[in-house]
Symmetry: C2
Subunit: 186 residues, 2 copies
């Protein structure tokens, strides 16, 4: 049995559970039809398995954002593409989005891919300023505010899926206009 099979099963189960603490090593082993002890051949302990899943998620999300960013022709399109891709990923895997952002493991061992996701978002913001599509401002501060808004938007939708939150695309657009200043007079 490959290590990848275990990660895939854990990935799927964590998405349903939406809570890293709720995932049991034994349940994963059961899912893969393996003795519980066999998991230890690939991971030193339960937490390492969860870590591996989180890292996989971050890489996947980074990948989606990069691809969407490359498709944009203008800097604002690239930025919008990145943000939209992140929102789509969260909408597709709400449970994993929660695990990625809210679990204790994330706090202690931040995933490299997640940090890179932040860096590239800031780069996209800077490109908008350089091209004159957004007013010049401190890129770090603007990106921080944009990230907060987007994370809050997703957190609300993921944690209270029943409520009526309106269109994601429109809310993203408002954030780009209001926070980054896309489309405003230069």
């Amino acid at each position: 049995v490959l290590r990848a099979e275990i990660v895939v099963a854990a990935f799927r189960m964590l998405d349903e559970l939406a809570d890293d603490e709720a995932l049991s090593l034994r349940a994963v082993a059961r899912e893969v039809s393996i003795a519980a002890t066999s998991v230890y051949l690939h991971f030193p302990d339960r937490d390492a398995l969860v870590q591996a899943v989180i890292e996989r998620c971050s890489e996947d999300m980074l990948d989606h954002a990069d691809r969407a960013g490359e498709n944009g022709k203008t800097p604002p399109d690239q930025l919008r593409g990145r943000v939209t891709a992140m929102a789509e990923w969260a909408h597709k895997h709400p449970g994993l989005y929660k695990v990625m952002h809210e679990s204790k493991l994330n706090r202690e061992h931040p995933s490299p891919a997640k940090i890179e996701l932040g860096n590239r978002l800031q780069a996209a913001v800077e490109r908008c300023m350089d091209s004159g599509d957004a007013p010049r401002d401190d890129p770090e501060t603007v990106t921080l505010d944009l990230r907060a808004a987007v994370q809050g938007m997703l957190s609300m939708r993921v944690n209270e899926p029943g409520a009526s939150w309106g269109s994601v695309a429109q809310q993203v657009e408002r954030f780009l206009v209001k926070i980054v200043g896309i489309g405003s007079a230069r």
Copy 2:
């Protein structure tokens, strides 16, 4: 033993655990020096106890926001006061903030006080528009965006307390200017 003692102990423990699933009825009983079964005299089951704590939190937060709002002289001051009070509450009880916003119980049985918190925030936004301190716009949409930004700001700070997020007051101020339009030309 009073019901209140149990709630207070659970309140304190949940703030430390920062995860509703991690709170065990037995641990609460131990904390209050009571037989585990005695908790059932006041609550039908474990979840009801957690619910009670969440409701208490929401009411407390609502209370703080109301008081801070009443201290403001102008509508923008009132709005700023409300938002700042919410941020302060979250900073004081990060674990409970997580439980309030991220737990499964919250999703299934939304707390009345939390809904009221949202309504009164919107009312404060409307007052800014009425007084001409903010440009007229759809209050519901503006409030939704403001809530998302604030929730994201707090979520980032609560879930990754180690990072350098800058001043809360300044970030709140930026949100009020950029999202609500406080201080912009009418």
